[in-house]
Amino acid sequence: MTLLEHTPSEAQLRRSAYRRRQTVYSVLVAASSTAALGTLLVVAVTGAPGWDRVRQSFLDPEIARDALPAVLTGLWLNVRLLVCCAAGALLLGLVIAVLRTLRGPIFFPVRALAAGYTYTFRGLPLIIVLYLLTLGVPGLRLQGMPPVLVLGGLALVLTYGGYLAEVFRAGIESVHPSQLAAARSLGLTYRQTMRHIVLPQAVRRVAPPLLNDVVALQKDVGLVSLAGPIDAVRAAQIATAQSFNYTPYVVAGVLFVLLAIPLIAVTDWVTLRSARRQSGG
């Protein structure tokens, strides 16, 4: 049995040639329209009266260079806080969500407490929690008071734990009851069912909103600076106060966006993957 070499028909060749032409054509059109619009915008922006002032006030390279080391040092604090607080808040949220979905009348007070916690901390402005914990609590002068960063981190974990708990709960409740029934019929205990059947599916389902909340947390960790520590935004504020120029804020803003890009990219990728699984998988 010899394999015949595949030779595309005349029509097929014409079709693929046409497709190639079309692809080249559309890329060229896209490129030229982008170039035209880009040129128009650049001319409009740089030609606008006051562009020089905008550049001086927001885009001064020298001031940006001077401010960068301090802002980066501050950003390092943001990153460390983010990692610790994200881990803490995810863990706390998961625990609260599991407590809120416990069954049986005996667990009513636990469910009520967990529900009360999420209601309270989702409603409380983060600033209030931060002030109470970082400046109010140390005023009690108790033994073994943790440093201000730990207290600030705790405020963030408590607040974001409330948001994440609700996301997890939505995930847990979205797992179809038939899954539970099947698990029980196999003889798994409630704990095993949660651990092996429900939670894996729940977490996978709500990964995008979870990551979304983590991205939001990334911007809010800086608020700990109101209790004294210098984060990226605070460093930018200090630099701005010295030069009366807003470039340091722009520098900090750009760094934050750069920091968020990987997180957002992961979020997009996870969303896409889960969408594919749900629809076509």
């Binding site: 915008l41 922006v45 400046l135 140390p138 005023g139 210098i230 605070r234 504020q237 200090i238």
Partner: protein, 287 residues
């Protein structure tokens, strides 16, 4: 395709923001200042009461600016400055009469019941619209305060503060004083307001708080009574300046200003500062 259009949308948004920000610049024109010149002698000065000099301050007048709320005893930094200026203009102590005017009243536009007022008035452009100021008689110094129980209580040199955890309000000369002059080994703590910073000081979250000298005396005198002034830091940044306040376009302004300027150049004001603020009031000069 989706990602490319998103990128385009983002750049577009950026350009739009930049373009709107770049529109319609407005220039502000500086207002010209007029100075009157005249001979500065007791006989020719058009004071409220001829041959007498009426000086105002607030009631109550606080330490270290005045002592025992009695301006006419000439004790306290501002009382001493007032008498020094009077003397420079040719008025003996007996020719000086004191009157009491509220801070806010003195600074408001309108006719004045004094020749000049000395009451820790910072010279600002806004205030210059309503009143006249003399040349500055005091450049505000940054001062470290701490709880009496703090580890830096009673320290007398900058070197003693190197290992302290200091705090200040963001964007202030006080913060600059920490970073540029004290240069502590521990990172300074920064607060949105002096109220937050004071709370942190009371909580023991910082060893020392840097504020300007008038604020330091106010905090340690009335707000946190178990805090004390550690000392003054060498001058840094662009300090606030206190000036004598006169009526808008007062005929005395240039003469009073000249007198203050001469006292300042002769080092007399610096001497009064050392005597009344550092020695008597206890704001040690940290070196």
């Amino acid at each position: 395709m989706a990602s490319r259009s998103r990128l385009l949308a983002l750049t577009l948004a950026g350009f739009v923001v930049a373009a709107t920000a770049g529109c319609a610049p407005q220039d502000e024109e500086p207002t010209p200042t007029v100075t009157a010149a005249g001979s500065c002698t007791k006989d020719s000065l058009p004071t409220r009461t001829p041959g007498k000099l009426t000086i105002a301050t607030d009631q109550p007048a606080y330490e270290p600016w005045f002592r025992q709320d009695k301006p006419d005893n000439g004790e306290g930094f501002e009382a001493a400055v007032a008498y020094a200026v009077a003397e420079k203009l040719g008025y003996a102590r007996a020719d000086v009469t004191w009157t009491r005017v509220k801070f806010d009243t003195a600074i408001a536009p309108g006719p004045k019941s004094f020749d000049f007022d000395i009451n820790q008035f910072s010279i600002t452009e806004e205030r210059k619209q309503a009143v006249d100021f003399s040349a500055p008689y005091y450049l505000v110094r940054q001062t470290v305060i701490a709880l009496k129980s703090s580890k830096i209580a009673g320290k007398t040199s900058l070197a003693d503060l190197r290992n302290a955890r200091l705090g200040a309000q963001v964007g202030t000369t006080s913060y600059q004083a920490i970073t540029d002059v004290v240069k502590p080994t521990t990172k300074p703590q920064v607060y949105n307001s002096n109220d937050d910073a004071k709370k942190a000081l009371q909580n023991g979250q910082i060893d020392g708080l840097v504020v300007d000298l008038p604020t330091a005396f106010y905090i340690t005198g009335t707000e946190i009574t178990d805090a004390m002034v550690i000392g003054q830091v060498p001058q840094v940044g662009v300090p606030e300046a206190f000036g004598l306040l006169l009526d808008k376009n007062s005929p005395l302004t240039s003469c009073v200003s000249t007198a203050v300027g001469q006292l300042s150049e002769a080092g007399a004001l610096g001497e009064l500062e050392r005597k009344w603020l550092a020695q008597v009031a206890g704001a040690t000069e940290l070196r």
